[in-house]
């Protein structure tokens, strides 16, 4: 049934339809609306049997999920940003133990400087943890991905993180078609754990593994991710068969058939990019878009097949590896080894900086004219940066950069109307 609801509410309602048995949460913006809504449903008795546990930290939240999942309960939590970093030890542990926990990540920047708005730095910080990471483009997809996530997680015994842009999706109210309970029940069978703590059949889980076997255990985790590359599209197909809706999968292509320039991105920014691409298409430019839904496992073969005919590939991402450059761009470049594609890395939207259609149009125009540097920070205010660089050069004791930049921006300048 199509409803006009907030993204967080859509996710909460969908998670509830998945019949989680243990939900644990610690509040952090912009994840709060999701767990508040699930908590209320548990308290009302709509989700029975289900335990909702208010924990004292994100580290505890993931730890509770680990214990619950190892005891055979379908387990769910949600977090963002600093919270993800605070639980990172347990995030790796859940994957290492092969526990099919599902977690929503309401993508948010990482401090310092503290910033509550959206970018993808948090997800990138755990990209090597062994979790599957799926990025939602819309609230509809965010909701649908949770149903697919539980099925994928439990089929393969891997944890799955559904990444949705903080505020841009979590707090946006738009039309979402919520599934029926019977639909979800037919898609998602009860959790049948591969390993479980059982007094009738005691096992030890989490034993020490030395050099004799550690590489093999890690390789098996990699194999499960490779298997996920097969399962993600087929689960998306099964979901489409059931609901008539195309959600999930490895990648989404848009107007790429004859494109000589293809833009690659993840998450909600894909909508704005498509609008800008439509405008550039009207101007006669052969440009298209590839959205990455599955960032981990990274679908190198699918990405290569979608991009290799392009002359230029622009990877636009909301995070970067400081001192290196694009993270998604690096993965895309690896997928395109041996091709003639020219790759441009564009970092955009950090800490909630709006990525506007106009900026993107300008960017694509410059790409078309061959004017783009290999690494570009979109809409970077070079004057502000240069003034702080000068201050740092002028004095050893120039003080904290973030505060200097804020003060700088607040000061009236010559020629500026105050």
């Amino acid at each position: 049934m199509l409803e006009q609801i907030e993204g967080s509410r859509a996710v909460a309602e969908t998670v509830a339809l998945c019949r989680p048995e243990v939900v644990c949460a610690y509040p952090i913006s912009p994840q709060t609306h999701i767990i508040e809504a699930v908590g209320a449903m548990v308290k009302e008795g709509r989700l029975s049997p289900c335990e909702f546990i208010n924990v004292e930290s994100e580290f505890a939240a993931m730890s509770v999920a680990i214990g619950a999942s190892a005891t055979g309960a379908r387990s769910y939590t949600a977090t963002a940003s600093q919270g993800l970093l605070f639980m990172i030890e347990a995030v790796y542990n859940a994957a290492g133990l092969g526990l099919p926990i599902v977690m929503t990540l309401a993508n948010r920047a990482i401090g310092a400087p503290i910033n509550i708005w959206n970018d993808h730095s948090d997800a990138m910080a755990v990209r090597d943890s062994g979790w599957v990471q799926l990025f939602a483009e819309t609230n509809q997809e965010a909701a649908d991905l949770h149903v697919q996530a539980f099925r994928l997680a439990e089929e393969l015994s891997v944890p799955v993180m559904v990444c949705m842009d903080g505020f841009i999706l979590t707090h946006a109210v738009e039309g979402v078609d919520l599934l029926e309970q019977s639909t979800v029940d037919s898609f998602l069978p009860p959790y049948d754990p591969r390993q479980v703590l059982d007094v009738q059949n005691p096992v030890s889980i989490g034993a020490m593994v030395g050099p004799e076997a550690f590489e093999e255990v890690r390789y098996l985790a990699h194999l499960r991710q490779l298997e996920a590359l097969e399962r993600i599209p087929s689960i998306a197909d099964a979901f489409e068969d059931l609901t008539g809706r195309r959600s999930g999968g490895l990648i989404h292509s848009y107007r790429t058939e004859d494109a000589t320039t293809i833009v690659v991105a993840m998450g909600s920014v894909l909508g704005t990019i498509k609008d800008a691409v439509d405008i550039r298409r009207e101007a006669g430019e052969a440009i298209g878009v590839v959205g990455i839904t599955s960032f981990r496992p990274f679908p190198s073969a699918a990405v290569r097949a979608a991009l290799e005919h392009a002359e230029q590939v622009v990877v636009l991402e909301k995070a970067f590896s400081i001192g290196h450059g694009g993270i998604l761009a690096t993965d895309v470049a690896m997928a395109l080894r041996g091709t003639d594609c020219e790759i441009h890395e564009v970092v955009a939207g950090l800490g909630g900086r709006p990525i506007t259609r106009q900026s993107l149009e300008g960017l694509f125009y410059r790409v078309g004219r061959g004017e783009l540097d290999s690494l570009l920070f979109l809409d970077l205010d070079a004057d502000v940066v240069n003034r702080e660089v000068e201050r740092m050069r002028a004095s050893r004791h120039s003080g904290p950069s973030a505060e200097n930049v804020l003060r700088d921006l607040g000061e009236p300048r010559v020629g500026q109307v105050s």
Binding site: E21, V22, C24, P49, C50, E51, I53, N54, V55, E56, S57, F59, A60, A61, S63, V64, A65, I66, G67, A68, S69, A70, T71, G72, A73, S75, E89, A90, N93, L97, L197, D198, V199, P202, V203, S204, I205, G206, A207, M208, V209, G210, E212, A213
Partner: protein, 344 residues
């Protein structure tokens, strides 16, 4: 639980020989049919107090629950020595996740069991003192505060022994560790620091808090059994000497543990809902020096440049415990003709 005086004539140990008791009063450990929750073949050091404590506590819990225990283990000696690749010593369902999250993982296990309608299966979470008072403190306090149905057992050997004997917030003042070296005017660990976890647990108003040592098997088993009779969060703090870290002889583990109690340095008591309900009285009050001299970690207090001032300071700590918990009988220290009580 009733207490019945047992009269016998075993000098020095205060231990009640099981052969003097009726079958029903004997310890779980004396029962050939005990579960051996943690079985032989593990890699603990000779004389390891923690291996003893874990076996005593878990076997008693298994009997109390009719063999329905799930154990969660923090990283540490117990985890490492019990699961050397590719073996495990555990005959019970056992989960190790991380160093600082054993209480929260146990919360998750208990929640899952509740959802599954398996209230008959009980959860024990266990850690060393580092996993309890330091890195696991936040998750432990959270578990207490929510009153999750978990018995948390701290095997306290007063330091990070697994990583090579470093200081924890349970290391006693003046003790030598690898990070509290025997140098300077105040050798060893600093006075005026550290956490008293049993009292912190009591401040959470949890149903049951108790301390015990591996020297008194009857007392330890009775406390585990008592703990399993409650629902909600419970805390058991067991002193487990570490021959490696303490520099004590491996055949002195029980003796050292007993002296920790007999000096008053380690008060043995139990509390319900934040109120002390019983204390194990000191049988023969012993000066702290007797306890300290058995351990090389305190050797710098004696030797060539003795520090009687520091020994006095430690004695004052013991005296404060004796006063706080009322550890002395009116009729203290009747040597030779030993009398003991057994809880049955």
């Amino acid at each position: 639980m009733t207490k019945r005086p047992i009269h016998f004539y075993q000098v020095g140990s205060f231990a009640v020989g099981n052969r003097l008791l009726s079958d029903g009063d004997r310890t779980v450990q004396s029962d050939a049919a005990r579960t051996n929750s943690i079985d032989s073949g593990h890699r603990a050091c000779q004389g390891c107090g923690e291996a003893l404590g874990a076996r005593y506590a878990l076997d008693a819990a298994m009997r109390a629950t009719r063999n329905r225990v799930v154990a969660v283990n923090a990283t540490g000696c117990l985890e490492v020595f019990s699961t050397p690749y590719p073996e495990t010593s555990w005959h019970i369902p056992w989960l190790h996740s991380l160093f600082g999250n054993a209480p929260a993982v146990a919360t998750g296990v208990a929640a899952a069991l509740r959802v599954k309608g398996r209230d008959d299966v009980r959860v024990i979470s266990q850690a060393g003192d580092g996993g309890t008072v330091d890195i696991g403190f936040g998750t432990l306090s959270g578990m207490f505060e929510r009153n999750d149905d978990v018995l948390f057992i701290c095997y306290d050997n007063e330091g990070y022994m697994n990583t090579g004997v470093q200081r924890s917030a349970a290391t006693p003042p003046a003790a030598r560790t690898a990070t509290t070296e025997v140098v300077g005017p105040q050798p060893g660990n600093t006075f005026g620091q550290g956490k008293d976890l049993p009292r912190i647990a009591m401040a959470h108003d949890v149903a049951y808090v108790a301390t015990a040592t591996v020297a008194d098997l009857h007392d330890l088993e009775a406390k585990v059994e008592r703990a399993m009779s409650f629902r909600g969060a419970r805390y058991l703090h067991i002193l487990v000497p570490c021959p490696l870290g303490w520099g004590s002889a491996s055949n002195e583990t029980i003796h050292v543990a007993r002296l920790a109690k007999e000096t008053g340095l380690f008060p043995v008591f139990e509390a319900e809902y934040g109120v002390v309900t019983s204390v194990s009285k000191i049988r023969r009050l012993t000066p702290v020096q007797e306890y300290l001299m058995l351990q090389r970690r305190f050797a710098h207090l004696f030797g060539k440049n003795p520090r009687p001032d520091i020994v006095t300071h430690l004695q004052e700590m013991a005296n404060r415990n004796i006063e706080r918990y009322g550890l002395l009988e009116d009729e203290v220290a009747r040597p030779r003709h030993a009398r003991t009580e057994v809880q049955v």
